[in-house]
Amino acid sequence: MSHSLLITHHYPVRTSLYVAVPLMMVLSIAQAVVMPRLRVLGMTPQLLLLATIAWSLLRGINEGMVWAFVAGLAMDLFSAAPLGITSLALLGGVLAIGLLQRAFPRSRFFLTAVLAALATLIYLLLYILLLLLFGYPVSGPAAASLPPLALLHGLLILPVYWLLSRIVE
């Protein structure tokens, strides 16, 4: 393996970590303090999930996985959920993006919105399954109230994606 190949494999992920850690800490504070006041259609958008999905779409699944891990830990710091559960569910969501990207036709905005909605659905499904696995009951009405969040994320991903793409450029 050549040296340049090593750099392309390891440097971006490390750089991604330097960006992800402070950004996710700031976003987790915003999620805990500001977002409950800014409910959209009765739902609270998940900023860290949106940022992770957008980064995965912009920079690829491998960087997205690092963001998912960091975002999950940052979310769990202000949550009653066991530490690490959200990271696991987010990793599943990002992995789904990587696999679904190959199945969908290339269409920038449509694909971004659909993938964000699907990744949110998969994340929520995994999150609930993991909570049940770890002995935390989730009532039927509570689980049923979550899927609309996927549709909301399908819409909200567009400004987040645009914003992050400006930063990346």
Partner: protein, 280 residues
């Protein structure tokens, strides 16, 4: 399209799983306190700025709205002046009650600690709040938390200067309760996001009606007696079942909570009588 690095995925998923297991069976709170403590301070600072900004934005947006408000306030002043006259007559009775209250306060049933709500759970499933009092203020895991309107929840996790309070509406919350009029007992469980508060395990023999007040029973010793939880909104009674249940409308507006009281000490219901087998 980039190749998925499965080794990275496995490593990150493995670490996350390990943390989840350690947090569930053991305690990694101490290890992560170095992160939670400074972040709680930032959270407190941010919440204060957000409150100020929200208050400024919620004020009158234009002069027209302000004029309308003045007219409404003038009407209210007229009504309040009439009410004031009536209240003067009640003042005499109040003085007598105040004497009684002061006597009761000399030996309070609870000790409370006032705390401000500085954040909410980041998870889409859990229902908890973060308050600005922690272990260094005397807050311990398991302490009940109430607001001026009723029971809020229970302390779930603490850091040095902040604590996480699991709301009674959360899926994993259960509170021993009794009804005010019929005296029937049961357990009030949270339904999580979108779910109702439900009082379960109520005997079929009990005649319960919508509007009855739901209070803490104090059984189990985790909550004091007679804290208001809410009111019965609907009774679900099926003769085929062994118990009936009631949908409870919480007394507390959880979305607008700003100040809460942590009950740091209370007289628990004495259940030691049940520790001894009958006949001894």
């Amino acid at each position: 399209m980039a190749r998925i690095r499965w080794a990275t995925f496995a490593l990150l998923a493995g670490v996350a799983l390990l943390l989840a297991i350690l947090d569930s069976v053991g305690n990694v709170d101490a290890a992560f306190a170095f992160l939670r403590n400074p972040l709680a301070a930032v959270l407190d600072w941010t919440a204060a700025r957000t409150d100020a900004l929200a208050a400024a934005l919620a004020g009158p947006r234009d002069l027209q709205a302000a004029r309308q408000q003045i007219e409404q306030l003038q009407t209210q002043i007229d009504a309040l002046e009439r009410e004031n006259e009536e209240l003067r007559e009640i003042q005499g009775d109040y003085q007598q009650l105040l004497d009684l209250f002061n006597r009761a306060r000399e030996e309070p049933a609870f000790r409370r600690l006032t705390a401000s709500v500085i954040g909410r759970d980041t998870s889409p499933v859990f229902r908890s709040i973060i308050i600005d009092r922690g272990s260094e203020d005397g807050v311990l895991v398991g302490m009940p938390v109430e607001s001026a309107r009723g029971l809020v929840g229970q302390v779930y996790r603490t850091t040095a200067h902040a604590a996480q309070v699991l709301l009674i509406t959360d899926n994993i919350s259960s509170v021993p309760a009794r009804l005010g009029t019929s005296r029937a007992t049961g357990i009030v469980r949270g339904g999580g996001l979108g779910g109702s508060l439900v009082m379960e395990w109520i005997s079929l023999e009990s005649q319960i009606a919508p509007g009855e007040v739901v209070l803490t029973s104090g059984l189990g010793g985790k909550f004091p007696q007679d804290l208001v939880i809410g009111r019965v909104a609907e009774v679900e009674r099926q003769e085929a079942e062994l118990f009936q249940q009631a949908v409870v409308q919480p007394a507390v507006e959880f979305e607008s909570l700003e100040v809460v009281f942590v009950i740091t000490d209370f007289r628990a219901v004495d259940t030691t009588i049940f520790d001894q087998p009958p006949g001894e």
